[in-house]
């Protein structure tokens, strides 16, 4: 399974040597450079904040806050990561700040999404292969894509956030622990339980023995 900190360096169209030139223009206060920065990065940052916040209004507000925060910090940006990666981290933080400021509701337990075992420790429902082994073949079906999104959305928030930050945004365990103010052990436990709950939900309709 691919892991590691390189994941958030996915191409966004704003990397490579152009970064240095753009940064130079931004630092000179070039209005056109600011517009390029915003137009190029907004779509992906919005996708990230939408996933975390699940509210279009909050997602847009978080992106705006992220850019305002980035503009303020531009002089301190060292250029040791891509601008897009730096903005991504700021947007994740802005979204999580918003999540924390929301009125807390008691979280649903993840237990109902977890697999069952017999008293002797065997699987209560014997695992069987899924209908199609290749992710690409499965994802050609819109219904599968919808089921995957819904399964992620059904995870209790504290588990969903860890899954999104580790497996989707591909932040390191230590970074996620710092952002969420929990131990690295808690991040690992939540990630594993979130993945098990995701697998369990997908198993219900992807099992070969389900018509």
């Amino acid at each position: 399974m691919r892991r590691g900190g390189g994941g958030a360096e996915r191409p966004t169209g704003l990397e490579g040597p152009d970064d240095a030139a753009l940064l130079e223009r931004l630092r000179r206060g070039d209005d056109a450079a600011y517009e390029i920065l915003v137009r190029v990065n907004t779509p992906r940052l919005l996708a990230v904040t939408r996933r975390l916040l699940r509210s279009e209004e909050d997602a847009r507000d978080a992106v705006q806050e992220a850019f305002v925060s980035a503009f303020r910090s531009l002089d301190r940006f060292q250029g040791d990561s891509r601008l897009s990666t730096w903005l991504h981290r700021i947007a994740v933080n802005a979204a999580l700040m918003r999540l924390r400021s929301r009125k807390r509701k008691p979280e649903d337990s993840i237990e109902e999404l977890m697999p069952r075992f017999l008293e002797d420790g065997h699987h209560a429902r014997t695992p069987v292969p899924w209908k199609e082994r290749e992710a690409d073949a499965l994802l050609a079906r819109q219904e599968v894509r919808d089921q995957v999104r819904e399964a992620i959305d059904r995870l209790p928030e504290s588990y969903r956030n860890v899954l999104l930050l580790r497996d989707i945004e591909e932040l390191e365990t230590a970074e996620v622990a710092e952002i969420l103010a929990v131990s690295t052990g808690a991040v690992k436990t939540r990630l594993h339980r979130a993945r098990v709950a995701l697998r369990n939900q997908l198993d219900a309709f992807l099992r070969e023995d389900v018509p």
Binding site: M1, R3, R10, G13, D31, Y34, E35, V38, R39, V40, T42, P43, R44, L46, A47, V48, R51, R60, V63, Q64, F67, V68, F71, R72, P115, F117, D120, G121, H122, H123, T126, P127, V128, P129, W130, R133, A135, D136, L138, L139, V144, R145, V148, R149, A151, I152, L163, L164, D167, I168, K188, L191, H192, R195, V196, L198, R199, L202, D203, L206
Partner: protein, 82 residues
Amino acid sequence: MTCREMVEFLMAWLDGELPEDQRAAFEQHLALCPPCEVYLETYKEAVRLGRKVCHDEDRDAVAEAPDELVQAILAARGRPGA
């Protein structure tokens, strides 16, 4: 090791973080338990599917930067404190 314990230790095993004795017990169980072997594959597949669906959303989002949001961000830059 039981199937329940195999599921419990799965991520630590994938991440190479199980102590030697537990790793040996885990791998012995996996070698002798076809259902757990299937479980391992579908666990990895679930992670891949989740990642792929979300990353495809990112790719599809590239064309879309709501103009009113872009304008609001650029306007905020000009405000004191921004």
